[in-house]
């Protein structure tokens, strides 16, 4: 079954015991689904889902200059964060294209956590390490000793509250706020963040606490309708919420402005950052293409890599696409010329030789009530 070169998260045996179908993903063997993607997706939208995202990379920076080091590598403004606050950001190269998208966490003025995509860990760790060392900031790649569990859905906070007072306190956190606390006896850092378009928390803990926490959450969540959810549901949930997936919608050939992530680019922030000049120029000149959300009008499902056509002309490419279980339509994201980015614009998607009509729509495709 398992490819010997694949890494396992501390929850691997739990996934297998739950009947998870394990697939290679970003160097790890991860559960793509347990009971079925539609059922898991639906559970997250109506109750809650539990995801193992321990494959993500965690970098810890500490020292007086830690925040400034991070600020120099990211587009968003780390200096604006207060203790216990997190932010989504891009990290760009000098050309202004995207090296990775990250969440940065200010635990304290001199203690920061940066979470990167698993697929970019080998690139981002040396990138941050080098900048940290230059500034005398202590750097640790904590990925291999840190587990990350995402509890997502309208019932997520109620389920966390089943662990007692510390869990209840999580409900008082604002979005993108975090707490270092104890859940079901496990020392955790819990943040009000997620990748599903639902309310919820993402919970970091040491590898040794992961199984205890995972099983306690599953048990506490059972009466609420919580299901373990795999990568497939994570992908449909994030697509409906129009959250970018690195390697699909954004990569080193795309810049944040055209990707619709211009809001993460703070050109006026105090700390100069990598890619700043290029991004200033891109913003001044304007972009030639934009990442848009579209709905399939005809019978077809757009998939990553499918060509977008205007008549017979190839004008763009689909970067993500699948059925949207909650929106009840086949949806996708793709880059198209700015002139075709208006809501209501129609084009066709080449679904393996079949031209299927699609229409640009407002995103997110799904927004929780």
């Amino acid at each position: 079954m398992a490819d010997e070169t694949l890494a396992e998260t501390p929850l691997h045996a739990e996934h297998v015991a739950l009947g998870g179908r394990m697939v290679p993903f970003a160097g790890y063997e991860m559960p793509v689904q347990y009971t079925g993607v539609k059922q898991e997706h639906e559970a997250v939208r109506t109750a809650a889902g539990l995801f193992d995202v321990s494959h993500m990379g965690e970098m810890e920076l500490s020292g007086a200059e830690a925040g400034r080091v991070i600020d120099g590598l990211i587009t968003n403004n780390a200096a604006k964060l207060v203790d216990g606050q997190a932010a989504y950001t891009c990290a760009c190269n000098e050309k202004g294209t995207i090296l990775d998208d990250l969440i940065i966490y200010r635990l304290a003025a001199d203690r920061w956590l940066v979470v990167c995509n698993a697929s970019n860990r080998d690139k981002m760790v040396p990138h941050f390490r080098a900048a940290a060392e230059d500034a005398g900031v202590t750097f640790e790649d904590a990925s291999d000793r840190t587990a990350l569990i995402a509890l997502q859905g309208p019932k997520a906070l109620s389920i966390a509250a089943e662990s007692g007072d510390d869990g209840t306190a999580l409900a008082d956190l604002g979005p993108f706020r975090l707490a270092e606390t104890t859940l079901f006896g496990v020392q955790v850092t819990a943040a009000r963040t997620g990748y599903t378009g639902e309310d919820g928390v993402e919970i970091f803990c040491g590898n040794d606490g992961a199984v205890t926490l995972w099983n306690a959450l599953l048990k506490a969540g059972e009466p609420y309708g919580l299901l373990p959810a795999g990568l497939a549901a994570r992908d449909t949930l994030r697509l409906e919420a129009r959250l970018s997936l690195y390697g699909n919608d954004i990569d080193e050939t795309t810049n944040p402005i055209e990707a619709g992530l211009g809001w993460t680019v703070k050109l006026g922030k105090a700390t100069p950052f990598l890619g700043q000049e290029a991004l200033r120029a891109i913003k001044a000149e304007g972009v030639s293409r934009k990442l848009v959300g579209f709905e399939m009008i005809g019978r077809g499902i757009a998939r990553q890599g499918y060509t977008i056509l205007d008549g017979d002309d190839e004008v763009g490419v689909c970067t993500s696409g699948s059925p949207g279980p909650t929106v009840g339509k086949n949806i996708g994201l793709g880059y198209v010329p700015v002139a075709m980015a208006e809501i209501g614009t129609r084009f066709t998607v080449d679904c393996r030789g079949r031209k299927v009509e699609a229409e640009v729509v407002e995103t997110p495709f799904y927004k929780r009530a």
Binding site: M1, V32, Q33, G36, V37, K38, A232, D235, T236, R299, G300, I301, R303, S322, P323, P325, N330, R352, R354
Partner: protein, 130 residues
């Protein structure tokens, strides 16, 4: 991998089945294929009644939330019927892949079915997967 296999038909390495029934050969996909695909959301049959199909050639696709699979004609012949029900009810493939969710019916050489994998050969193939 424990997956349902029927004794009353033959199989292909592409996880399709063929069964002679009332002068036609019905073609569908196996429970293993369904399990691998997950929730089926779209069935596209690219042929219509009267079209000729060649053995081994693609005649459509089955798509799930996550991925898609090509349909190949296990046997050549002439399409007699297409299961139109699947157009609006792709989930039938998840519910009844060996019955109601047949894909197409072919008029062809019924003797050619014998050249496909027997149930025990197909079971052996599945045991070698993963």
């Amino acid at each position: 991998m424990s997956t349902d296999i029927k004794d009353d038909r033959r199989y292909t390495k592409d996880h399709e089945w063929a069964q002679a029934r009332d002068g036609e050969i019905l073609i569908g996909i196996t429970a293993y294929a369904v399990e691998q695909l997950g929730d089926i959301t779209l069935v596209n049959i690219d042929v219509s009644a009267g079209d000729a199909v060649e053995s081994g050639k693609g005649f459509g696709t089955v798509e799930s939330v996550k991925t898609l699979a090509d349909l190949f004609a296990p046997i050549g012949g002439k399409i007699t019927r297409v299961n139109d029900k699947l157009e609006d009810q792709p989930e039938l493939v998840n519910d009844d892949c060996y019955g109601e969710a047949w894909m197409v019916a072919i008029e062809g050489d019924e003797a050619a079915i014998a050249d496909l994998l027997s149930p025990s050969d197909y079971e052996k193939l599945l045991s070698e997967q993963d």
